[in-house]
Amino acid sequence: MSSPARPFREKAQVLDEAALDRALTRIAHEILERNGGATELAFVGLRTRGVTLAHRLAAKIAKIDGATLPVGTLDITLYRDDLAMRGTPVIRGTDIPFSIKGKTVVLVDDVLFTGRTIRAALDAIIDLGRPTAIQLATLIDRGHRELPIRPDYVGKNLPTSRRESVSVRLREHDGEDRVVIEEPEEV
């Protein structure tokens, strides 16, 4: 969901900086509530912006609960079902420096769309060990699922059309915190 050079223009702003932060704060509280605290929890973020969001959620939980939760990075390129259709695979590596065995893993991504990325992520995580449970947190759920996958924690449900694109911009990568809907320029 990054934004390489492409003929898209901004159609509407969905979340501003404050709303994005409030959504993450709420998700952090929901994670603690659902799991009865922070014991045996771990975050795994999907490259690239999911990792940043996972770190922010971990920081919020540290503030609320005092617990320091581990945060791992998952690169699902090797698990994609469309690997050979996407040009050169760019492998940036998985880095999960803790055992996920017996943990409840909260998978974090920026935008949930078809569900295929999450399918790949589930396979990738299970290849690394047997977690007690996997939960899914996403900042934006834009619908159009192609697989039976649903998120446990959602920042914002956002009905979109397929030709639109959702761009999550984060300070660490894009210099600003906001979410916008984009549409093709030629329309």
């Binding site: 090797l78 690997l83 040009g87 590596g93």
Partner: protein, 312 residues
């Protein structure tokens, strides 16, 4: 920058960005070796054939492991025990194997240009795993990855490659790769084993080991093949070892304390390397072997798993 080549034949063909793409991909894949379940589904349904006409331990095994960790089906072909023994020609054998629709054929052959010949004749991707005295690109890639991980960078480093430069495909591939990445290369060895006009590849030449290893960041020792002695290129192994063998004493007197010692294997202990050096703290020989698997995973992935390669 994407990968657009059907084959990987020679470091000489690649530009710096392609070399870095291969090295970066391999670096990211190393993590798979540390997993409990060492397998990812990236090349599920792809077939890799190892077509080896020359003896090999490291290269063939590491291509096989690399393919299997990526979930490809890997088939090993050895020239002995095959129709080659009945007189079938190299190209005929390869065409028969190609008729079984492999995605990648990894070939090692004693003739320079064998891999390029197959690349022209066969529709699948060809990886050169060593052709005669020409090139051995995956060895150069794993050497570059090893150097970069140990030193943190490669540009500006100075490497001495020592031994039989004239007959070494490892030296040739490394010279091309290292020069393209901005490294300085000195080749050293007895004059009979240094090819004429080697300076045209952009390297310095030294005929004294003590001079060659002074102030370099990396010393790459090459295997001395015994048949060179039969050919009259060196007087005796003992004399070669005395002038060109790397001992602990020599290292201590002339090399930098942070130098890396590399060797593509198999090591002639006591000839080009003393056992204390081969097993010593400077040696990264086993790191090279471990990185070999990651490099070959990267090569197979880019050739068989990308749209630009054969995999679409």
């Amino acid at each position: 920058m994407g990968w657009t080549r059907k084959d990987l034949l020679a470091m000489r063909d690649l530009d710096a960005s392609e070399i870095l793409l291969l090295v970066d991909t391999a670096a990211s894949l190393q993590e798979i070796a540390t997993r409990e379940i060492k397998k990812v589904p990236a090349l599920r349904g792809k077939t890799v054939v190892n077509l080896f006409y020359e003896a090999s331990t490291r290269t063939r095994t590491s291509f096989e492991i690399a393919g299997k960790w990526l979930s490809a089906d890997v088939v090993n072909f050895a020239a002995s025990g095959s129709s080659t023994a009945k007189g079938e020609s190299f190209v005929d054998t390869a065409k028969n194997i190609a008729a079984m629709s492999p995605d990648v054929v990894v070939v090692r052959h004693s003739s320079s240009g064998a891999a390029a010949l197959l690349a022209r004749e066969l529709p699948c991707s060809i990886v050169n795993a060593g052709d005669g005295t020409h090139e051995h690109p995956t060895q150069a890639l794993l050497d570059l990855l090893t150097i970069r991980e140990k030193k943190g960078h490669v540009e500006g480093l100075h490497v001495a490659i020592v031994g039989d430069i004239a007959h070494s495909r490892v030296a040739r591939s490394n010279i091309h790769g290292m020069r393209k990445l901005g490294m300085t290369v000195t080749v050293a060895g007895p004059p009979t084993l240094i090819p004429p006009f080697v300076q045209e590849l952009g390297v310095k030449v030294s005929h004294r080991l003590d001079d060659a290893i002074r102030d370099v960041d990396v010393i790459m020792m090459l295997r001395l093949q015994h048949e060179r002695m039969a050919a009259g290129l060196i007087p005796s192994l003992r004399e070669y070892s005395r002038y060109w063998g790397l001992s602990l004493d020599r290292l201590a007197r002339h090399a930098r304390p942070d130098v890396l010692i590399m060797h593509p294997g198999p090591v002639n202990r006591g000839v080009e390397l003393s056992p204390e050096v081969a097993d010593g703290p400077y040696s990264v020989i086993l790191d090279q072997v471990a990185k070999g698997v990651a490099v070959r995973m990267g090569v197979l992935l880019l050739l068989a798993g990308s749209k630009g390669g054969n995999g679409a």
